[in-house]
């Protein structure tokens, strides 16, 4: 597996799954833009020191803003030519307290879906021309199973939207060397899931323990494991490996 010379953009790259994906892609030789709503200066400094070369850059961006995304792609185009590997990983959960329907407000719904779905669509649409031109590209989505329960409607709408994107991209751009796939994840041990548990007034450690127990594997998925799967797909050389939406939930969706 070698991504030397490839340029990656990881949204939501400064925390949770994203930071592990950035580490993994940098370890494989890719130059990584760590895209997040906040700067990832410390992380970037650590990575560049570790490899003793420029291997990562902080890319502060609000992906729900078209202007921000256009500015980011313009910067990457000037600095590195374009994005070869796009990991659409950023997401916000939406309102913690009033996320049930019909209590959820229109404002909260739009704010959430604009990050979770529009942001990924903007990044994807902006990435395609360069990938198509060079005849190589990888687009990855951190999705969620459509059958997930208890998840706010804008969050699930956004995550489910990735499934349509994955299917479409794999068919439309199969001949252009662009491969795409999505992991439909549940029960990954991230700071976000801990925040959700806390918002429900539960003890976080107890809540996490219960989620470990609920999985048929006896434990939650780790961000490192997700990053390892992403790396494997991104590095795959066969153009046939595209369009897959893999359910990764420890068996809870269908077996419970």
């Amino acid at each position: 597996m070698d991504l030397k010379g490839r340029v990656s953009l990881v949204t939501g790259g400064a925390g949770g799954i994203g930071v592990k994906v950035c580490e993994k892609l940098a370890a494989l030789g890719s130059f990584v833009y760590v895209c997040d709503i906040r700067e990832a200066t410390e992380f970037v400094a650590r990575v560049n020191a570790e490899y003793q070369e420029s291997r990562a850059a902080s890319a502060r961006c609000d992906i729900s803003s078209k202007e921000d995304v256009e500015a980011l792609y313009s910067r990457i185009s000037q600095e590195r030519g374009g994005v070869d590997v796009l990991v659409n990983n950023a997401a916000v959960y939406g309102p913690m307290k009033t996320h049930r329907f019909p209590e959820i407000s229109y404002e909260d719904f739009t704010k959430t879906i604009q990050v979770d779905l529009s942001g990924a669509a903007y990044c994807t649409l902006s990435a395609i021309p360069h990938m198509k031109q060079q005849g190589w590209g990888r687009i990855v989505f951190t999705a969620a199973p459509m059958s997930s329960s208890g998840i706010p409607s804008p969050y699930l709408a956004g995550k489910a939207g990735f499934i349509g994107l994955t299917k479409y991209l794999s068919r439309k751009y199969a001949g252009d060397g662009i491969s795409t796939f999505a992991l439909a994840l549940r029960h990954v041990d991230t700071p976000l899931i801990r925040k959700v548990i806390a918002s429900r007034g539960r003890d976080v450690e107890e809540g996490v323990k219960a989620m470990h127990a609920k999985s048929l594997t006896g434990r939650m998925i780790t961000p490192e494991e997700v990053a390892a799967v992403y790396a494997r797909f991104i590095s795959a050389s066969s153009p046939r490996i595209s369009g897959a939406v893999i359910l990764a939930d420890g068996g809870i969706t269908y077996l419970r």
Partner: protein, 235 residues
């Protein structure tokens, strides 16, 4: 369709997107079945021909047009219809797919085009649901149908003609987003006695109108009253 016939007489329903091919077919079906009907269109597709033709059959029909993504306007229209007709039992969300497809070049990678699809489809569905569901909660009953396409499942569409053609990235993303939204909302409202299910059409849906009406009737009639967030895919 006889085996699924429900007692629709005297019930109240809204068809959002009444001027779409599917909206018209479902509007006619519900009206002929005795449902007091509210038809809602977006301003840009305003056309009350269906309402007029149904009124000629002595059906009780109201017509409203609203601005796309106007939270206030959509709520006002739904409240007015529910108030005037005496409540709300059914909601059909039908989308202006044929119009949107005509306007979209499948190779269009403009970010604004995605926004248009998201607003006209996903956000309008959300708003009409948000306006309608409180009326159903009052009665602890209601049946809702989302009209969708199979684009979000397959990522492909083929065919030629006014209503079909190649599907776009925008449509595929929004189609599966609708399914996700429907799933989440259905689970939130089923404890309140409200069912939310879907009908997803393949690209040649011009030929499938009768089947769509059959499928919508399946969900609206309560024949599968325990179904929650099911999507009948008509390939």
């Amino acid at each position: 369709m006889g085996e699924l016939s429900a007692d629709y007489k005297g019930k109240c329903g809204i068809v959002f997107g009444a001027n779409t091919v599917i909206g018209k077919a479902l509007g006619r079906f519900l009206s002929r079945s005795g449902v007091k009907l509210g038809l809602i269109d977006l301003d840009s597709f305003r056309h009350d021909g269906l309402a007029q033709s149904l009124r000629e059959t002595d059906a009780r029909v109201m017509y409203k047009s609203v601005s796309s993504c106007s939270e206030h306007g959509i709520k006002e229209a739904v409240d007015h219809i529910a108030g005037d007709l005496g409540g709300l039992d059914y909601l059909v969300c039908a989308y202006y797919l044929e119009e949107e497809r005509k306007r979209t070049n499948p190779d269009d990678l403009a970010l604004d085009t995605f926004d248009t699809w998201l607003k006209h489809w996903v956000l309008n569905y959300f708003l009409v649901m948000k306006a309608a569901v409180p009326h159903m909660i009052k009665r602890a009953a209601g049946n809702i149908v989302f009209v969708n396409t199979t684009a979000g499942y397959t990522g492909e569409g083929e065919g030629e003609g006014q209503l079909t053609g190649e599907w776009s990235l925008h449509e595929c993303a929004c189609s599966s987003a609708i399914t996700g939204m429907m799933t989440s909302i259905a689970r939130d409202v089923i404890p309140k006695g409200i069912s939310v299910n879907g009908v997803s059409l393949g690209s040649n849906y011009e030929e499938a109108i009768e089947t769509v009406v059959w499928a919508a009737n399946l969900w609206l009639s309560g024949a599968c009253e325990y179904a929650c967030a099911q999507n009948l895919r008509l390939y």
